[in-house]
Amino acid sequence: MSEAPQINSQSASPYSSNDAEVRAELSEIDASIRTSALFFTVSAIFWLLAGTVFALITAYKAHEPSFMGDSALSTFGRMRSAHLNAMALGWGNNIIFAVGLWIMARLCRSPIRHGGLLLIAGIFWNIGLTVGIVGIIMGDITSVEWLEIPHYATPLLALSYALIGVWGVMAFKFRKGEHVYVSQWYILAGLFWFPWLYIVAQIMIIWFPARGVVQSVTNWWFAHNVLGLWLTPMALATAYYLIPKVLGRPIYSYYLSVLGFWALAIFYNWAGVHHLIGGPIPVWLISAGIVASIMMVIPVIVVGLNHHMSVVGLHKEVWRSPTLRFVVFGAISYTLVSLIGSSMAVRSVNEITHFTHFTVGHAHHGVYAFFSMIMFGGVYYMMPRLLKREWPSAGLIKLHFWGSAIGISVMLFALHVIGWIQGVQMNDATIPFLEIVQNTIPWLKARTISGVFLTVAHIAFAVNFFWMLFAAGAVRAKQGPTLLDSAKEEGVA
């Protein structure tokens, strides 16, 4: 390890560099992945917008069931599943392919060779996904949560994923330098974990269905691990890359990084079974899942501490940088959502939260407040490097941040509160079920309103993005990074 970089070394002259060779290399790497990363980002944003539309319809139907109720295409079940898959596999996977592979290539100092093939694989991924989601809306949906995509689309998805993931593995294989940075561990592991999860789940549930409750166990093993062994490592890798990168300060502790990574790798795989608490599966499986869920406190505290100690004292810089404002919001959410998740696995808590809106809120806490916010930060950092332009509008970035932050906070508050009330009331046999359902309506309306905030945020994001992408002339004139307050300091973006 060389000495930690001097934070102020660049402030005298922002254009001077003491590692020109590395910068030249990075420039080459950025160029090698530019086309495919742009394609994945554009796809991700389209899926984000499509998923938002599905989400709004679903949220509105939750308290106004007759809305768009005349058509089978727009029934609640199909809209909800279309939303889930558009967000998880459309937004989530595409943005991982963009940001994750870009970070992997940079850290490995290894350009993406034959990037055209990566682009083609990406096109097939999105074709497969489009077929799948159209299939869901047309009624070919499977009855398995998180695996709703009909069987005729999944082989294409699995195959094109393999062709995409292999580029990250190849970048790692041809890496330069002795030290493997923590982000590389997470991305490499995630690239192997996801296909393992997806293919096993497809085979055991859709193609050659296992008998009986094994299907349910596989289903929740998959559904929970998609969050924990795919979205989580990718978002953590992004945060681990961007925090030191923007602040120019090393990550606090290598040892905490190691502990956090391996604890996640060891414990998370067991945790999904806590979705089946009370179900007819052998109780040791559930208890093992509960223990693993509680043990997840270890990686969460470790990662949270590592991030916190790397950022502490530089809060002004975090607030000024569009990237870090999103990333730190996501990192804080990671700690919160994981600790809440661990407590939800305890039997006595689960008896209340299971089968309520609490779980829905928890899922959005993880996928949006944690994963998506960090990925937004990743896009804000990556795009200027890929396009060699600045973000056109700081105002739109602020609108995006506040729309997302307020929207998701309102949603989480509403769903957690009503979920808990709902759970307590459902455990009381004297309260009629319909009364409980009616109690949730005002809170579900609050969720729809939060959805409007998120929609505004996503539109601001998309407008800013496509403005940057297409209005090159207008943007090029812009000097210096786009920051979120008026202070004219260089060096943070």
Partner: protein, 260 residues
């Protein structure tokens, strides 16, 4: 990565150094502004893991182990209840009848002297088959077994003078169940036809003679005998238990619809 590199001139044969040269061009620097203002690639510090975290993690691991021991249903495939008790569904251990238990105890503890036939050894060990001491008042035999017997005693017309050891708390310390078993066995085997001696009776006798450290003599044995407990009492108690159990089941059956 060092300062000198930035100042070195271009080498046409080397792509990297061409890039470096290009970056010194002011126009190129503007185009690469984003890249140039980047901080260095991320690095890691080596701060140690705080010690309190290690304690916390050790505590969590310990808790996990305890939880698994308590709620894993013995790691059986057919256990579904977190409070599963691996012993609950096994049939209650078969209660060996007093007589059979006594038979075992007799063959281990008594048959050496009194012989498997109960005939004893003439002149040395008195017979117990057909002995009036054995088949008479149950308290007599109980006294002999609990505290032992010494001195001359006349059995079936012959006088013996030996020392019977104590099997109560001062001697071999057999359990109440074993004592009751062996006494019952002796009183009912080899043509003997006396009543059962229950565990409860032995318990009472033991309590009665807890303070006695000396053995009995033949004369003492006949004195101060209590009334023979009614054997029916126990059966009545058993019936009560059954009724009570049935009553509970009935109550549960009634309570069930309300609970659901």
């Amino acid at each position: 990565m060092s300062e000198e590199n930035t100042n070195s001139g271009p080498h046409p044969s080397n792509k990297t150094s061409l890039e470096q040269a290009a970056m010194q061009d002011e126009h190129m620097q503007d185009v690469h502004a984003q890249l140039m203002r980047e901080k260095e690639e991320p690095q890691e510090g080596f701060s140690p893991v705080p010690i309190f975290l290690m304690f916390l993690f050790a505590a969590l691991c310990f808790w996990g182990g305890v939880y698994l021991v308590h709620y894993s249903g013995g790691f059986r495939w057919d256990a579904y209840d977190p409070h599963f008790n691996p012993n609950a569904d096994k049939p209650a251990p078969v209660e060996i009848p007093l007589f059979e238990r006594g038979q075992k105890v007799f063959s281990q503890q008594c048959a050496v002297c009194h012989q498997a036939t109960g005939a004893g050894v003439p002149g040395v060990y008195p017979p117990i088959a057909g002995s009036e001491w054995v088949t008479g008042h149950p308290q007599v035999l109980s006294r002999i077994l609990i505290n032992g017997l010494s001195g001359p005693i006349e059995v079936k017309g012959n006088t013996y003078n030996g020392a019977m050891p104590a099997f109560g708390p001062n001697g071999m310390n057999l359990s109440n169940k074993d004592l009751a078993g062996v006494i019952t066995f002796i009183r009912q085997e080899w043509g003997n036809e006396a009543s059962d001696v229950t565990e409860k009776m032995v318990e009472d006798y033991k309590a009665l003679y807890a303070g006695r450290s000396t053995t009995w003599s033949a004369a003492e044995l006949k004195e101060g005998l209590g009334p023979i407990p009614e054997p029916e009492v126990e059966e009545v108690v058993e019936e009560d238990d059954e009724f009570a159990a049935e009553g509970e089941q009935a109550e549960e059956a009634h309570a069930e619809p309300a609970a659901h």
